[in-house]
């Protein structure tokens, strides 16, 4: 599903060059659930961003679901993100002026699905997250756990191949974190969606099938859980 080899990434700020990823090779099969761990600054978020086509790599090869990701224009990248990828962020990143249902329906809006239809689908997904009664609430009226569940519903609605989660439990308490992980593992099992979770919590990492440790821009360890 995800196949990267020898990925390099360097950030240039002024005169400073920061070599963040120093040749990453990784193969993730369809339906795998993998966690990525590492100290801050190790490059784990950068890797996730490159996998999410939110950032581009300088060197190396990235094949996502059989599509070679290279020199894409923004339009193409946006369409690939919409079609193949679902994002879950630490800070939820819900659109503040849209209610839960509209937030969930947003990826379908970009696919030009009719409003009525996409809202109906969004309601289904919210229902699965147990948030049907909160559908018409704005994000600031929801708790952290609820917000993350809305975000997960949003990541799922376009039926992506891969879900990329950047510290999905980073802003949640331990109980809610476990709930969110329950949901993610359920999705992984039932829908066979590939999942990459960046985290620095061992509890969270343990619940995935494989943990990849990144140190200084290189994969140093792969642990089977």
């Amino acid at each position: 599903m995800v196949d990267i080899s020898n990925i390099h990434k360097t950030y240039i700020t002024g005169n400073n060059k920061l070599h963040v990823l120093k040749g990453i090779d990784l193969k993730v099969d369809a339906g795998e659930m993998i966690s990525v761990m590492g100290a801050s600054g190790s490059g784990k978020s950068t890797l996730l961003n490159i996998l999410g086509i939110l950032d581009n790599h300088d060197h190396g090869e990235y094949i996502l679901n059989g599509v070679r990701i290279e020199n894409l224009n923004e339009r193409k990248a946006a369409m690939l993100r919409n079609k193949f990828l679902g994002f879950v962020f630490q800070s939820f990143n819900l659109v503040s002026f849209k209610n839960a249902m509209e937030n969930v329906a947003l990826p379908l809006y970009y696919q030009n699905v009719k409003r009525k239809k996409r809202n109906a689908i969004a309601m289904e997904f919210l229902d699965r997250m147990g948030l049907k009664d909160w559908a018409h609430h704005l994000p600031n009226e929801l708790s952290g756990g609820q917000k993350q569940r809305v975000a997960i519903a949003r990541a799922l609605i376009a039926k992506p191949k891969v879900i990329l989660a950047d510290e999905p439990t980073g802003a949640l308490d331990s109980v809610t974190s476990q709930e969110v992980m329950d949901i993610l593992t359920d999705i992984n099992k039932n829908e066979n969606i590939t999942m990459l979770i960046v985290t620095h919590e061992h509890d969270i990492a343990k619940r995935t099938q494989k943990t990849i440790r990144i140190t200084d821009g290189m994969i140093t360890e792969i642990i089977k859980n």
């Binding site: 939110l54 990248a77 946006a78 079609k83 994002f87 990143n93 503040s96 970009y110 409003r115």
Partner: protein, 420 residues
């Protein structure tokens, strides 16, 4: 197609900081408001001045006799002379560019003593002897009866056509003046027509105090011999009346033994030159109005562009989220441009409406108060201009949104997402 999500976003963006939106909108509003008011006022001024011309042929020249100022062919300077009937034919033959040639005489000067009497009523009016063509040069609205015709001229009929004010002063209110007689300098004339000036204001009241009689009748009745008071000449269409003017003066100088270098002997007034000066003036005013108006509008539009830049900056993260979820640059750009167009069009439309409303109010008040409209009449802007300025607004709004929109998509999605 109506897209609720898009409008929801526009509403969100514009209502987030209401004061800022209002102030930005005010810039555009003020620009178009000023443009409308200035254009309307320019038109009002033009209408006011133009009314003094009525339907008068603007390609006309007046030529009259003064005193010579240069001794010539044995004549001393300071000689007085009159034009005579033979000059009419001579001018006609010598100048093919003439369209209408109307020799005229007049009895008594401006504001003379009482010269017209009817029963116990009397008044002082301007009396002209005219050719029928005069009605083609400076047309009037005939209210009753007819104007002078060729037969009147030929038979030297003692008939007159009177202005509305003449009728008001000499006749009862419900009296029909046609076929009635009035006495002018001791001679009775039959009234055959009643007219009203096509001008308005002071110029009209002047016209309405005129009495026209056949040219030949005038000469004969008042012992003028074949003397002509002055000529009123128009040129053929497409020919500058100045050409006719120059030729006519040359012919007349030759016929009346006036030195070619004598500029004072023949008085002349070229209406076309005056008219062109005026047209030029109004063109100038118009250009100035457009420059100032567009400048003000531009300032408003730049304000919109500026604010959109701020809005885009504030929404960087939000736009980043949308892009992560699959919003293409096209969607983001069109969203921002729509916001900008909505803002400019809405405020501009408001300015346009209010401007037109104010002009209408001024119009109404001017009409109602019966103020002297000599210089200012019916301010208003024409429909095309209003539509054009609206179109300019929409385009300007789109341009105002362009830079911010480009800026919004020039950021990498990940940088946008990280932005705090």
């Amino acid at each position: 197609m109506f897209d609720l999500d898009r409008w929801q976003e526009i509403y969100h963006v514009l209502s987030k900081n209401k004061l800022r939106t209002f102030l930005t909108a005010f810039g555009v509003f003020w620009g178009i408001f000023m443009l409308v008011i200035m254009m309307g006022s320019g038109d009002g001024l033009k209408n006011g001045i133009s009314q003094n011309f009525g339907d008068m042929a603007t390609n006309s020249v007046f030529i009259w006799a003064q005193q010579t100022s240069v001794p010539y062919k044995g004549f001393t300077r300071g000689r007085r002379f009159d034009y005579e009937n033979a000059d009419v034919r001579a001018l006609d033959e010598a100048i093919p560019e003439i369209k209408y040639l109307a020799p005229r005489t007049n009895v008594g000067g401006f504001n003379g003593a009482s010269n017209v009497i009817r029963g116990l009523k009397s008044g002082s009016f301007q009396i002209f002897g005219d050719y029928p063509v005069f009605d083609s040069i400076d047309p009037v609205n005939l209210l009753q009866g007819r104007f002078i015709n060729e037969l009147d001229l030929k038979e030297k009929r003692k008939i007159v056509v009177i202005g509305l004010r003449v009728k008001e002063l000499l006749f009862e209110k419900d009296e029909n003046p046609v076929n009635q007689y009035i006495q002018i300098n001791g001679v009775y004339f039959k009234v055959v027509g009643l007219f009203k000036s096509k001008r308005t204001g002071e110029a009209a009241s002047f016209d309405n105090q005129r009495i026209h009689m056949p040219f030949t009748t005038c000469q004969k009745t008042y012992n003028m011999g074949d003397a002509i008071g002055f000529f009123n000449i128009t040129s053929k269409d497409g020919i500058q009346v100045a050409i006719v003017e120059e030729k006519a003066i040359k012919v007349l100088k030759k016929r009346h033994a006036i030195s070619p270098t004598d500029d004072a002997a023949i008085g002349h007034f070229n209406l076309e030159v005056e008219y062109k000066k005026m047209v030029g003036l109004f063109l100038g005013i118009r250009i100035l109005v457009w420059i100032v108006g567009i400048g003000t509008l531009l300032a408003g539009v730049i304000g919109v562009s500026n604010i959109m830049l701020v809005v885009v900056k504030e929404r960087t993260k939000e736009i980043g989220i949308q892009r992560a979820l699959g919003a293409t640059p096209r969607i983001v750009i069109s969203q921002i441009i729509t916001e900008s167009v909505v803002l400019t069009t809405f405020s501009g439309y408001f300015g346009l409406t209010l401007g037109v409303g104010l002009l209408e109010l001024i119009n109404y008040l001017l009409d109602k108060s019966g103020a002297n409209t000599e210089m200012f009449l019916h301010p208003g802007i024409n429909f095309n201009v209003a539509i054009t300025s609206l179109a300019i607004l929409v385009v300007a709004g789109a341009f105002a949104g362009m830079v911010p929109a480009r800026k919004a998509v020039s950021v990498k999605p990940i940088d946008a997402l990280r932005y705090e």
